[in-house]
Symmetry: C2
Subunit: 470 residues, 2 copies
């Protein structure tokens, strides 16, 4: 059983840390982006790894829980503890230094509190690319992105956050520091602690620094929107694109017409790419080496795909501005979704070839629950769909309180039956602990529990996230 | 403390398993490829995952150690237990089925006992590539390759074995089966058990099946040998190649003239690519998309590099046969090394930009120990060098027994001081347990131990490998 933060404990921390580590206003740290949950606790922002270690050691001695806080953009409540003894909320915002850049190695070493967009800019400054890219990149911080193994739009080519990290510095739950900040590409000396910490959502320790992998910047970039007759055709197009352009495909996103209808209904303003919006279309992004112009590669793909009846229409970006416009459409869909207000949102993945069946069965199964609008879009190349269920026109989210649990159950049962995941990129946090218990393989669950107990025997690290507090 | 296999235990297993699971001749399983160590124990080859689980359960009940045995090609003694109570040696050779191939998903699911070359062939059969490639691919099996996180020549582009696996089926040390054989590209539901098992060298469980990631086959492949004035120039050439050709660079291998001299001295016969063998040269391999001929890309690179004084000579393969000939040279070097007989061999990695300094300092430091010939070659793109020390002409390995420990110490101390790894791709096995203890961060070591104790509390899985048996 953990203890709550007390005035005496706060005084102890104030004696240890500089005044800058304490916040006048803790409210922003205790609210969730969509306002769904409220947190509690004492917010602390240490400025160094050693100070993080000292706070963790003090918490371990006093058996006080710690909730690591990064950019605060998570959608599953991993950064907020609503109930139980008040914890220390440990923000890494003051640890925001880029420590070193090694352009010849394609490596950047930074504090965990650096904002993603700042890493992207620093990489660009030395002619390199940090490919992790997602909607919240202006506020999400590296520590949280790694702790949740963030995904985004470039996973198809560059992998998720896990694939873009070479080394970590971690404060363990006993306050010791693991100096694993290696820049090595290969090191087979013992178990893979790095990947264990990545995606652990702060329940096994606090990531305080990272050595990140940069990539060469592609010589030419381009994009196309192509209308496809069906999700199955989109998958065949993906395979054809791989055969022709290989690793050069950076992103392959699918969008249903519903997203365009939402944009027309509630904004934001976007220029529609097609005269007649097709039921399904894909956004293909490429980055290619010297000697291979992206427009030519995309035209070649379009012609071969048209021949094979995999596409019915297409627009190839003729400028960077047009490419940006395509991406603006894709990135505006989540905002349109927020304005409409979903009954239930799902971040799911299934094996790639099961996607057409999933979309078909989902439509049928939800029709049995009630009348909804479904906006299905996302990272087709990764088998990862954002599968969101909306009210019919003229009604609101609040009208569907009764149906929501059943909608969620229908979608998750279907995903599970198809060997999919009910959290493809958002993680478990506190929102999906029940789902993990319900759908997770019991053998897997017992291993997760054994690892948690071994590495955080007092249970102070992000209590109740990923695994239920016992 | 573990118990040895007894006649009664063997009888118990014979009652459980078909006769095919028992070997008439266990000698091949109890000797190491170079004949350096001898193993012991009862060799069993179960034919199914359920039979593996039953054997493990029986061993757990009787507290008998298990040494998983895959292709037997490991170089660090992970597949052999010399001392202590006789274990069960568990071979997966009878589990050699490719279970399913999903070309549209770029996924292949197989038993862990399948030989690497058979996976490569099966992938080729559906127009795909399984990029893991190394000298022992004709006998190494998938389970061992994953358990040691094998590397090889394509790591630069495709990553090591870890990066090529989506899911695992694992028999845990208590005989339960973890069904983690997912084909999902994204699944953020709990800690990364897959990567924990990969590289654990059979000490946390036995991998019995794997879902492997295939890649599209590049449309055009090519290779070039280029003479470089120095290792530093080779690194600059690597960066330039990345900027021009990006992901299209599949391999970037460095070779010292010593390797060519060994080939001339003891064979195998190869056709030398240069009239005058340079001190250093690189082998660059590319795989490119449609529309970009490899010869043109390599010529463009060579011209730019010549202009920048990064290369002094070069030969671009004009045919598949010539490309194969280049690779034959590279792949013949280890055989020439074996014929010469090394004083001491090292599989090391350092941060990429430290390589020139490592090579320079190594030469000086070894000169203080004695007179040697150094053959330094390997995966420059990964910062991974095979750094092998040989007798002077006319002398043999046996003449250097006295110097060997000091040579090893000098090399490993230097690697450690440069933030490198003393086992870049071969693993720890039993040979390098002392090194891990000596050079490993104590905080890291305590985490390794905690995980081992949590997941294998009886200590029956590959006892004494990676971590000392306590």
């Amino acid at each position: 059983m953990l203890n709550p933060v007390t005035d005496a404990f706060e005084a102890q921390l104030r004696a240890m840390l500089p005044a800058a580590a304490f916040k006048d206003d803790s409210a922003p740290y205790l609210t969730e982006p969509r306002g769904r949950w409220a947190g509690q606790g004492l917010v602390i922002a240490p400025g160094t790894t050693e100070d993080v270690a000292a706070v963790v050691k003090a918490c371990a001695d006093a058996r006080i829980g710690i909730v690591p806080y990064s950019g605060g953009t998570g959608l599953v409540g991993g950064q907020l503890l609503q109930d139980g003894p008040a914890p220390v909320v440990l923000s890494l915002e003051r640890m925001n230094r880029i420590r070193d850049i090694y352009p010849s190695e394609n490596v950047l070493v930074c504090d965990a509190g650096v904002i993603l967009a700042d890493v992207q800019k620093a990489a660009e400054g030395v002619g390199r690319l940090f490919p992790l890219s997602l909607a919240s990149e202006g506020s999400a911080r590296i520590g949280g992105l790694l702790s949740t193994n963030a995904g985004g739009v470039n996973v198809l080519r560059y992998g998720n956050a896990r694939a873009q990290c070479l080394g970590l510095e971690v404060v363990r739950p006993d306050g010791t520091i693991w100096h694993g900040l290696t820049r090595l590409r290969k090191d087979n000396t013992g178990y893979d602690l790095r990947n264990l910490m990545i995606g652990a959502e702060g329940t096994l320790g606090i990531i305080t620094g990272a050595a990140l992998k940069l990539a060469p910047r592609p010589v030419g970039v381009g994009a196309a929107m192509m209308a496809v007759p069906s999700p199955a055709a989109a998958l065949d197009l993906l395979a054809m694109a791989g055969e022709r352009i290989g690793d050069g495909i950076s992103a392959f996103e699918i969008m249903h017409r519903q997203g365009f209808d939402f944009l027309a209904e509630v904004g934001p303003e976007v220029k529609q790419p097609f005269d007649n919006i097709p039921e399904w279309c894909v956004l293909i992004d490429v980055g290619l080496p010297a000697g291979l112009p992206p427009e030519a590669a995309l035209e070649g793909l379009f012609e071969a795909a048209f021949e094979a009846e995999l596409v019915t229409d297409g627009v190839i970006a003729q400028s960077h501005a047009q490419r940006d416009a395509f991406w603006h459409i894709r990135e505006s869909i989540p905002e349109a979704n927020r304005r409409i207000g979903s009954v239930s949102s799902h971040d799911i993945s299934v094996p790639l070839s099961a996607i057409p069946e999933f979309i078909q069965r989902g439509k049928q199964a939800l029709a049995e629950v009630g009348a909804f609008r479904i906006n299905c879009f996302g990272h087709l190349g990764d088998g990862n769909l954002h599968y969101n269920i909306f009210p019919m026109p003229g009604r609101t989210r609040a009208d569907y309180e009764a149906e929501r649990p059943r909608v969620k159950e229908v979608v998750h049962d279907m995903v599970h039956a198809m060997d999919g995941s009910v959290s493809a990129e958002h993680g478990i946090g506190r929102l999906k602990v029940d789902d993990l218990e319900h759908y997770g393989d019991p053998v897997k669950l017992s291993m997760l529990r054994a690892i948690k107990d071994a590495l955080d025997p007092l249970g102070i690290m992000n209590p109740g996230a990923v695994l239920r507090q016992v």
